[in-house]
């Protein structure tokens, strides 16, 4: 009997926990219903017709200052009109957006709007609506910077709406550069930059001393930018042959291997949780262990603050940003890309929701909001009119080198290359770069293996 009682008590406990969970599950929902009910009653007394706003579920992967900037725009949009209600969902990363979207397409629970992720992969599978089909008249397409417009266009129609632009730039410690008797002109080519090693090594930066002349960012991005300058291309002009093991690529990657492993002039942070490798790379520059690093324009705001804070703690660092160097005697030719808004094509999204999604995108990317987002994050604005916007002009005068990315995109950068295999060539290149940068394997060997693997994938789609 006693045991029976114990079972009953346990059962009741489980039921209570279960009920408690359900209450919390539904608690917000109930509160919302009550609130909206109350609001509806008030409205009903004025108008006889009650119109609920159309919900626009919006997935993004922006956190920190980027997320704050975007959410401020969303709140502004929701409070300035009553037809649509944008509901943001923060996803862990761009790759998680892809995974979550795949499941959502299968389960017919796709959101009305997404920014980031592999929009081209989904587009090639016919799972993305043309943005232009839902674009309101107020969307000024002609004002979009040429490269971004081209990147978002498919079949002469705007398929994706550019959100903001990025192209990797150099963050460097001007105080160390000056102490070494050099100027920003010495960062003009990768050769002259690496040549500064002997001059900067051991310079006292308050708490630490300079150990490395440069820290490129882990991944294939920086290598691709150098190779682009050196004339390296991903595939041949006819699009049939993978060329990532051409002499231009091998020369670049082998030189980077020598700088990292043989000469130990440069360093790569890799692995870790999420963006840990990125932050460690930044840390080394902020706290005076390296002359500089290659980073995203999105680092600008946080890096600027971090350097100021480090200065207060006794670290010597003078914040400066410049465009990427060229490789050899060539001009710089880094890639630029744009984060894109896209409207998924799925049965569970109504036409009204798609129109609403395009309406929000138009609001979020108007001149004022584009400028505000660019100021808040450091990313390059995708509209030409931003340059004439008074607040943006004032921002440029108060923040050193804040337009470095924009200038680079304007003067040197080339549009991001679109992998026709949906990512297989890029994956093979990433693997090769890791082998060289982390495992010290000769570039020729790593790139030959990568090219062979990538060619097999390219052949599959060209047959």
């Amino acid at each position: 009997m006693k045991k029976m009682k114990k079972i009953v008590v346990l059962f009741v406990m489980i039921m209570m926990v279960s009920a408690c969970g359900k209450t919390t599950d539904q608690g917000t929902e109930n509160a919302d219903t009550v609130a909206s009910g109350a609001a509806s009653n008030t409205t009903a007394s004025k108008d006889t017709k009650i119109v609920e706003p159309i919900e626009i579920e919006f997935w993004h992967a922006l956190g920190g200052s980027l997320g704050d900037g975007l959410h401020a725009i969303i709140d502004d949009y929701n409070s300035t009109q009553s037809t649509y209600m944008v509901k943001p969902v923060v996803v862990g990363s761009y790759s998680e957006i892809d995974e979550k979207l795949q499941a959502a397409y299968a389960g017919k629970t796709v959101p009305a709007l997404v920014v980031g992720g592999s929009q081209d992969v989904f587009f090639q599978k016919g799972l993305v609506e043309y943005f232009e089909d839902y674009m309101p008249e107020t969307y000024d397409k002609e004002d979009i910077v040429g490269g971004f417009l081209k990147a978002g266009t498919r079949d002469d129609k705007l398929a994706f709406a550019p959100a903001y632009g990025t192209s990797q730039v150099l963050y460097y410690n001007k105080a160390v550069l000056t102490e070494a008797g050099a100027t920003v002109d010495d960062l003009g080519t990768w050769g002259t930059l690496a040549g500064l090693y002997d001059q900067v090594k051991g310079i006292d930066t308050g708490v630490n001393t300079i150990e490395y002349v440069w820290e490129p960012m882990w991944g294939n991005g920086n290598i691709a930018d150098m190779a682009s300058s050196n004339g390296g291309r991903y595939v041949s002009d006819d699009g049939l042959t993978v060329t990532i093991n051409s002499p231009e690529w091998v020369e670049v990657l082998e030189q980077v291997r020598i700088w990292i492993h043989d000469d130990q002039k440069m360093r790569i942070h890799s692995g870790g949780q999420g963006w840990e490798y990125w932050y460690k790379t930044m840390d080394d520059w902020v706290y005076g262990k390296s002359l500089g690093y290659t980073g995203s324009p999105g680092d600008y705001v946080i890096a600027f603050d971090a350097v100021k804070k480090a200065n207060e703690e006794g670290y010597i660092n003078e914040f400066a940003v410049t465009h990427q160097p060229g490789f050899g005697n060539h001009d710089p030719a880094p890639y630029f890309s744009s984060l894109m808004y896209f409207i998924p094509k799925a049965d569970n999204i109504t036409e009204e929701q798609k129109i609403g999604a395009a309406d929000f995108v138009t609001f979020a990317t108007n001149t004022e909001n584009t400028a505000a987002f660019s100021i808040a994050t450091g990313y390059a604005a995708v509209r030409n009119s931003v340059l004439d916007f008074p607040e943006y002009q004032e921002y440029l005068t108060n923040n050193p080198d804040a337009d470095a990315a924009l200038k680079q995109i304007d003067q040197y950068a080339v549009p991001e290359w679109i992998d026709p295999t949906g990512g297989a060539i890029m994956d093979a290149l990433t693997e090769a770069v890791d082998k060289v940068e982390i495992e010290n394997i000769p570039a020729q060997k790593a790139l030959d293996a990568a090219a062979e693997k990538a060619q097999r994938e390219l052949d599959k789609i060209k047959q």
């Binding site: 079972i7 489980i14 926990v17 279960s18 408690c20 969970g21 359900k22 919390t24 599950d25 917000t28 579920e57 992967a61 922006l62 956190g63 920190g64 200052s65 980027l66 997320g67 969902v89 923060v90 996803v91 862990g92 990363s93 998680e96 995974e99 979550k100 795949q102 499941a103 959502a104 299968a106 389960g107 017919k108 629970t109 949780q273 999420g274 963006w275 840990e276 990125w278 932050y279 460690k280 930044m282 840390d283 706290y287 995203s296 999105g298 680092d299 705001v301 946080i302 890096a303 603050d305 971090a306 804070k309 994050t377």
Partner: protein, 277 residues
């Protein structure tokens, strides 16, 4: 006697470094709570912090706001595991004690499913849950955990090692299936039940990938997703690593408590044959 001492010494020489090796990440995390960012990353690394600033730690504890995530994880881990255990026990009882040749085939079929990588099942399970309206709900998450092949396999091994004489004796005395389960099977396989409970609880408590696909509402996130928030922030450079260490420590404390409370049962379940005592 001397030989015993020598063996003991050798054992300790092996076990002490092994213990330090296994405890090191945990100690690194706990001491990290009191370190500044620079102390955490400085080379050469230092295990102990420069100062034990408990005031700052208490402030951080208020900042991390993990209460909701811990509750969700606990709710899913506890209720989900209990429901899963009930379902698995009934199924295992059927295939072991109500066995006929079809039951054996059914078991082999279930075992074959165990060989499937978890990620392969994400999309089909998501579609099923979407069709019954359980996407983005903790109920849906627990529902997807109800059928556990691991639990069936583990309990079956335990039930089979148990002498069937007890079950037959109970039947002769007129006990029905429920009574046999309650008064014979459960007491004789307590350690197996506990082992399955702890392992499944920990797995459900810590799970990241599947909940992150299924859940959208931040209020329903599990602790692992809450913890991940510290790392996903695109451009969230300058993160407070001591807070990350604190959040990680807070995350694993419930699991450690559960393990310590039931350590005796857990170890018995792993080490010894169940049933014949």
């Amino acid at each position: 006697m001397k030989k015993d001492k020598k063996i003991k010494l050798v054992k300790h020489c092996f076990l002490i470094p092994s213990s330090i090796l296994f405890a090191f990440p945990f100690l690194w995390m706990v001491f990290g709570i009191f370190k500044t960012n620079n102390e955490i990353w400085q080379t050469p690394y230092q295990l102990l912090p420069g100062a034990w600033d408990t005031g700052r730690v208490l402030d951080s504890l208020q900042n991390i706001q993990f209460g909701r995530y811990i509750f969700n994880s606990f709710y899913v881990g506890f209720v989900g595991t209990i429901v899963m255990l009930i379902a698995s026990t009934l199924f295992t009882y059927a295939i072991v004690f109500m066995g006929n040749r079809y039951m054996q085939w059914l078991f082999y079929l279930v075992l074959a499913i165990y060989m499937l990588p978890g990620a392969v099942t994400y999309v089909p399970v998501y579609v099923i849950l979407a069709n019954i309206g359980l996407v983005d709900s903790l109920t849906g998450l627990m529902f997807s955990y109800v059928a556990s092949v691991f639990a069936v396999f583990y309990l079956r091994q335990s039930f089979k090692k148990m002498s069937k004489d007890y079950v037959e004796a109970a039947r002769i005395d007129g006990a029905n299936h429920w009574k046999i389960l309650r008064h014979v099977i459960f007491p004789l396989n307590k350690s197996a039940f506990y082992t399955v409970f702890v392992l499944t609880f920990v797995q459900q408590y810590n799970n990241y990938m599947w909940p992150s696909i299924l859940l959208k509402d931040q209020n329903k996130y599990l602790i692992s997703q809450g913890l991940r928030q510290f790392f996903i922030q695109d451009g969230a450079y300058g993160m407070n690593w001591s807070e990350v260490m604190l959040a990680s420590t807070v995350t694993i404390i419930p699991v450690i408590i559960i393990f310590i409370l039931g350590q005796r049962w857990f170890v018995t379940g792993i080490m010894e044959d169940s049933g014949l005592k």
